[in-house]
C-alpha cells in the first residue's frame, strides 16, 4: 500500500531529456538558419565591396540559398518519414512474401494462407461486417441527431454529450461497455445494465460477449458510440453552412420538413457526408483496441488489425503478419484516394 515516488524519478529525467532534445533540435535548427546565412551575407557584402572596387561583375547566388533553406526546413520531417514510414512500408511489403523468420521467399503463400485458413477467413468476414455497419449506423445517427438538435435551445450542451465519447480512449470505451455487458448467474442480482434490462423484461441473463456472432455486433455498438459524435459534429457544421436564403425560399414554397430534408439538406451536405463515411470506414478497418480489450479476439470476434498484431508480435509469424498488414493497406487504399480527390475538389470548387 505504499507508492514510491522516488522510483518515478528516472521517468521525469527522461522526459526532461526529451524536452531538452526538442529545444536543442528545433531551436538549434532555427538558430543555425539564422546565423549561417547572416555570416554568408556579410561575406557576400565584403565580396561585393571588393568587386565594386575592382570593377568586376558581382556574383549572383540567390536561388541556391532558397534551396538550402528549404532543405533544412524539411530535413527533420523527411528524415522521420523516410525512416519511420517509407522504408518500413516497403520492407513490410517484401516481408509479406517471405516466411516467418524472413529468410526464405515463399511467393504468395502468406496471401493464400489468409483465405485458406478458416479462422483467418473468419477474421476477414468480421472486418467486413465492421466496415459495412459502423460507418452506416454512426453516420445515420449523427445525421439524424444533427438535424434534430439544429437550432434547439440547448444545442451545444446536447452536442457535447454525444461528442464526449470522442475524448475517451477505445480501451476506456471497451471497459465501459464490458461493464454494461457484464454477466451474473441467474440467481444473483445483475450488475450489467443490459442483462438487468433483459431480466426486468422477463428474459434469461446471457454471457453476451461469448455468444458469436452476436458479440461482434455488440463490439460494433462501442465503435458506433464513439464515432457518432464525430459524424454529428461534421454534419452539423455542414447543415449550418446551407445558405439561409435557400431555406427561406423553400419555406415560402411550403415544403414540409420531410421534403426539406431530402431535397435541400441532403443534397447540400452530400460532400460532408461522404467525408464522414469514408473517414469512419478507414478508422473502422484499422480497429484494434476495442476488440483487444473487450475479448482479445476470442470467441470469433477477431478482426484484421488484432490478428496482424497476434501473428507478428505474439506468434513471431512475420510473413503472415506482414501479409495481413499489406491486405489492410490494399483495403484502405481506394477509400483514401477517393477521400483525397474529394477534398481537392471541394477546395477547388
Amino acid at each position: 500500500m505504499e507508492f514510491d515516488f522516488a522510483a518515478e524519478q528516472p521517468k521525469f529525467l527522461m522526459l526532461m531529456y526529451g524536452l531538452i532534445a526538442f529545444v536543442a533540435v528545433v531551436g538549434g535548427l532555427l538558430l543555425l538558419l539564422d546565423v549561417v546565412p547572416a555570416f554568408f551575407a556579410r561575406r557576400r557584402e565584403a565580396q561585393l565591396v571588393a568587386a565594386s572596387a575592382s570593377g568586376a561583375p558581382a556574383p549572383r547566388r540567390r536561388k541556391q540559398r532558397e534551396g538550402a533553406f528549404a532543405f533544412f526546413f524539411l530535413l527533420p520531417t523527411l528524415l522521420f518519414l523516410t525512416i519511420g514510414l517509407v522504408i518500413p512500408a516497403v520492407r513490410t511489403t517484401l516481408l509479406s512474401f517471405m516466411d516467418s523468420s524472413s529468410t526464405n521467399w515463399v511467393g504468395l503463400d502468406n496471401y493464400g494462407w489468409m483465405f485458406d485458413e478458416d479462422s483467418i477467413f473468419r477474421v476477414l468476414i468480421n472486418t467486413l461486417i465492421w466496415v459495412l455497419l459502423v460507418p452506416l449506423v454512426a453516420s445515420a445517427f449523427g445525421l439524424i441527431y444533427a438535424v434534430l438538435v439544429d437550432k434547439a435551445r440547448f444545442e451545444s450542451a446536447a452536442k457535447s454529450l454525444i461528442f464526449l465519447p470522442m475524448a475517451i480512449s477505445f480501451v476506456g470505451a471497451a471497459i465501459i461497455w464490458k461493464f454494461i455487458y457484464a454477466y451474473r448467474g441467474d440467481e444473483q442480482d445483475q450488475i450489467g445494465l443490459l442483462n438487468q434490462i433483459v431480466v426486468t423484461l422477463g428474459g434469461e441473463p446471457k454471457q453476451w460477449l461469448l455468444d458469436s456472432p452476436l458479440n461482434t455486433f455488440l463490439l460494433i455498438v462501442i465503435m458506433v458510440w464513439i464515432q457518432a459524435g464525430f459524424a454529428m459534429v461534421v454534419l452539423s457544421a455542414a447543415i449550418k453552412a446551407i445558405p439561409a436564403d435557400i431555406i427561406e425560399a423553400a419555406r415560402l414554397d411550403g415544403t414540409t420538413p420531410w421534403q426539406m430534408f431530402w431535397r435541400i439538406t441532403m443534397p447540400s451536405i452530400r460532400p460532408a457526408l461522404i467525408v464522414v463515411v469514408v473517414t469512419i470506414s478507414i478508422a473502422t478497418l484499422k480497429v484494434f483496441d476495442i476488440v483487444r480489450t473487450a475479448t482479445n479476439g476470442n470467441y470469433d470476434t477477431n478482426v484484421i488489425a488484432t490478428e496482424m498484431y497476434n501473428q507478428a508480435f505474439r506468434y513471431g509469424e512475420n510473413g503472415q503478419g506482414s501479409a495481413l498488414a499489406v491486405f489492410l493497406f490494399v483495403l484502405v487504399l481506394p477509400l483514401v484516394i477517393y477521400q483525397i480527390r474529394n477534398l481537392r475538389k471541394q477546395r477547388e470548387g
Binding site: 507508492f3 527522461m14 461534421v234 488489425a305 498484431y309
Partner: protein
C-alpha cells in the same frame, strides 16, 4: 442538383399560411424533436455515467448489485481510487502508469508539430525545385496504415540497420524508461503526414503580401517563420496539438509494441487493457482505473473543444 426542379412535389402545394392547427403541429413537432434528442443524449451518456458512479462504490457493492441501486442505497468510498492508483504489484499502481502516459504524450505532441510546421512553411512559401511533388508525396503517405510500419520499425530499434553485412546504424539498445524515446520516435513518424497536410492548409492561406513585405524589409525565411507565421497559425497549432494529444494519450497499439508492458514505460491504456484481460471481474479496479485514464483527455477536450472541432473540420483524414 435535385433542388432545381421545383415542379415536382414541392410546387404542387400552395404556400400554406400558418393556420392555428399548423402552428400547434409545428410546435409539437419541434417539441418531439427536442424530447427525442434529449433522450438520445442521455442514452449516450448513461454508459459513462454508470462507470463514474460505480467507481465510487465499495467493492462488495459493485460486485453484487447494479450501479443503479446507488440511488436507493448510496454508499460512497474513495478506496477504489486509492487502491488502483497507489497499491503496488499487479493490482494497480496506475499512478506510475499515469506518469508514463504523460512522459510519452508531451514529447510525442511537441516534436511532430514543430517539424510539421517547419516543413509546411517550406512547402508553402519557399520556392525550390520539385516542391509540389514533395508535398504530394508527404500527403500521399497518409494512406499508409501504421500497421505497415510496425515490424520493420521495431527491428530498426532492436537490431539497427545493416546493409550487405555492414552495420550502418547500431541498435538503440534501450532499457526501462529510455524506451520512451522509441515511442516518441514512432508517434512522431506516424503523425507527420497528417500534421504537415493540416498545417500546410493553414499556412498556404496566409496573405502573400505579408511575406513579400517582410522579404523586401530583408527578413530571412527563419525570421519570417518565427515572427510572422508562427503567431498567425497559433489556432491551427492548438487544434492539431489537441488532436495529437488525444491520439497519443488514447493509443494502445503503438505503446504496446514500442513501450513494452512494464511499469517503467507502459502507458495507462496498456495497463488497463491488461487489467481488463486478467482481472476482468475486478470491477472496483476497472471502473476507477478507466476513469483515471479518461479524466485528462476529458478535461482537455472540454476546455478546448472549440479548437478540436475546428481541427476536425479542417481535415478529416488521419493515416
Amino acid at each position: 442538383m435535385t433542388t432545381a426542379s421545383p415542379t415536382v412535389g414541392a410546387g404542387v402545394q400552395p404556400p400554406a399560411p400558418l393556420t392555428r392547427a399548423a402552428r400547434v403541429r409545428k410546435r409539437l413537432n419541434s417539441r418531439t424533436a427536442t424530447l427525442v434528442s434529449i433522450v438520445l443524449a442521455l442514452l449516450w451518456t448513461i454508459p459513462t455515467f454508470g462507470l463514474f458512479i460505480s467507481s465510487f462504490r465499495p467493492e462488495d457493492q459493485i460486485k453484487t448489485t447494479g450501479w443503479w441501486t446507488f440511488f436507493s442505497d448510496p454508499q460512497f468510498t474513495l478506496q477504489n481510487y486509492q487502491d488502483v492508483l497507489f497499491s503496488t504489484g499487479s493490482s494497480g499502481q496506475l499512478a506510475s502508469y499515469f506518469i508514463n502516459s504523460l512522459a510519452i504524450t508531451i514529447p510525442s505532441v511537441l516534436f511532430p508539430i514543430a517539424f510539421a510546421s517547419l516543413a509546411a512553411y517550406a512547402l508553402a512559401w519557399i520556392n525550390f525545385k520539385g516542391r509540389d511533388w514533395l508535398y504530394i508525396g508527404i500527403f500521399a503517405l497518409q494512406i499508409v496504415p501504421l500497421q505497415m510500419a510496425l515490424v520493420p520499425l521495431l527491428r530498426f530499434f532492436s537490431t539497427g540497420v545493416t546493409l550487405g553485412g555492414v552495420q550502418l546504424l547500431p541498435a538503440w539498445d534501450l532499457v526501462d524508461e529510455q524506451k520512451f524515446a522509441q515511442v516518441w520516435f514512432a508517434h512522431t513518424c506516424f503523425a507527420l503526414p497528417f500534421a504537415v497536410y493540416l498545417l500546410h492548409n493553414f499556412i498556404s492561406q496566409l496573405p502573400g503580401d505579408l511575406m513579400e513585405a517582410a522579404r523586401v524589409d530583408g527578413a530571412t525565411h527563419p525570421k519570417i517563420f518565427r515572427t510572422i507565421v508562427l503567431p498567425l497559425i497559433t489556432p491551427a497549432l492548438a487544434a492539431i496539438g489537441i488532436f495529437q494529444f488525444l491520439w497519443v494519450w488514447n493509443d494502445l497499439l503503438v505503446a504496446l509494441i514500442f513501450a513494452g508492458g512494464g511499469d517503467e514505460t507502459a502507458p495507462l491504456t496498456v495497463r488497463l487493457a491488461e487489467l481488463a484481460g486478467t482481472r476482468g471481474n475486478e470491477w472496483q479496479r476497472l471502473t476507477a482505473g478507466a476513469f483515471v485514464s479518461i479524466v485528462v483527455p476529458l478535461l482537455v477536450f472540454l476546455s478546448l473543444q472549440r479548437y478540436f472541432v475546428r481541427g476536425l473540420l479542417a481535415g478529416s483524414v488521419k493515416g
